[in-house]
Symmetry: C5
Subunit: 96 residues, 5 copies
């Protein structure tokens, strides 16, 4: 998984029928110092994440292992909203 | 998923029989500022996208989760035509 | 999928039994201007491609979706021989 | 698989229900000289690894082939704690 | 698939139970001129390859399509020992 910040949303009305109802989030990847790396990805939302929140996403076939994305043509999913992380015993991010 | 613009098509008459009927699109990847990154990919078309349109594509096994690509040797699929996207509350692309 | 030119072959007599009978091709990846990018890949042949031909290959689990590669430890397959492609309405490659 | 050092942990209380109980580790990838490459990944823990330990992780669908990660939206798993490795007959790492 | 030279081995006694009995090889990726690229990977051994041998490995879910790796958390497998390869009709490697 990778860490990312939700920076926006993508709207697509003409799409594969199985995608109906999915929300697409624009994510900006983060490094472990909570800095954006310049890499983005579009991921389906499985946890109700909002713009500005720090999240984890899973890629590949693992992105289809949620109730929302099962058997859908979706290769990335936000599967958790991050509370905090620590590196070498020091907190590098907290959402409090 | 990644954002891309459809820039062309690929024709292949000698191919794996299961690919019969699939349309192959040449895609040029876009960043979130709607600029081409220089990376291309060939994807099967699942939504009737035309040259010039901005689309989303899925890669890997997820590319086989459409009616058109099911159980076919295809690792990328255009699964949506993009209407618009927003970054930090500002519209970065719209097809209107 | 990616575009590539077949540049050679790989011979391996000691191998996983399920690979018996597969032909391994050395591919040199092409960009959309039909220039080699310097990246190579070894792919199984599902279409009878020969050295010099321009082809498309699929990677990952999709590479196992052919009669030749089904349930084999093979992560790339040549699934089409390319006739031509167009970029912005201009032919960038034709095999005629 | 890749070699990595466990450098921290990620806490996420709002997540896909199937992830309940999984521990998320921050990994810093190692090269074969036991130096950090600057690349990180978040992986689920399947072996009880602690911060500071040197491990191996698997990515993609293979990350779901453990008792802990089966059918979960998880794309990386720590599946072994490394005792040692050798390059050209010379020990490059040992945890003793 | 990619070409690689076996440069060493990794020992891990604490691991996911399903990995019991697998041998982990350190591989150094080769380009088509038989030069090491500087990229390494750890792969399970399905063919009895030894240090110094030139091999092919498969990645991702395809790495689980051998008797040794079936349903195991393993994302790369050595599935062939290479005899030789040719580029543009010229032999670039032979193990004789």
């Amino acid at each position: 998984m990778q860490l990312a910040r939700v920076t926006g949303t993508v709207v697509a009305s003409r799409k594969e029928p199985r995608l109906e109802g999915l929300k697409f989030l624009l994510l900006s990847q983060l490094n472990t110092d909570n800095k954006e790396t310049g890499t983005y990805i579009v991921a389906a939302d499985a946890v109700g994440a909002g713009v500005g929140e720090v999240v984890m996403y899973a890629s590949g076939s693992s992105a289809r292992q949620t109730e929302f994305t099962h058997e859908r043509p979706c290769d990335a999913v936000v599967m958790a909203i991050v509370d905090s992380w620590e590196v070498e015993g020091k907190e590098h991010f907290t959402n409090e």
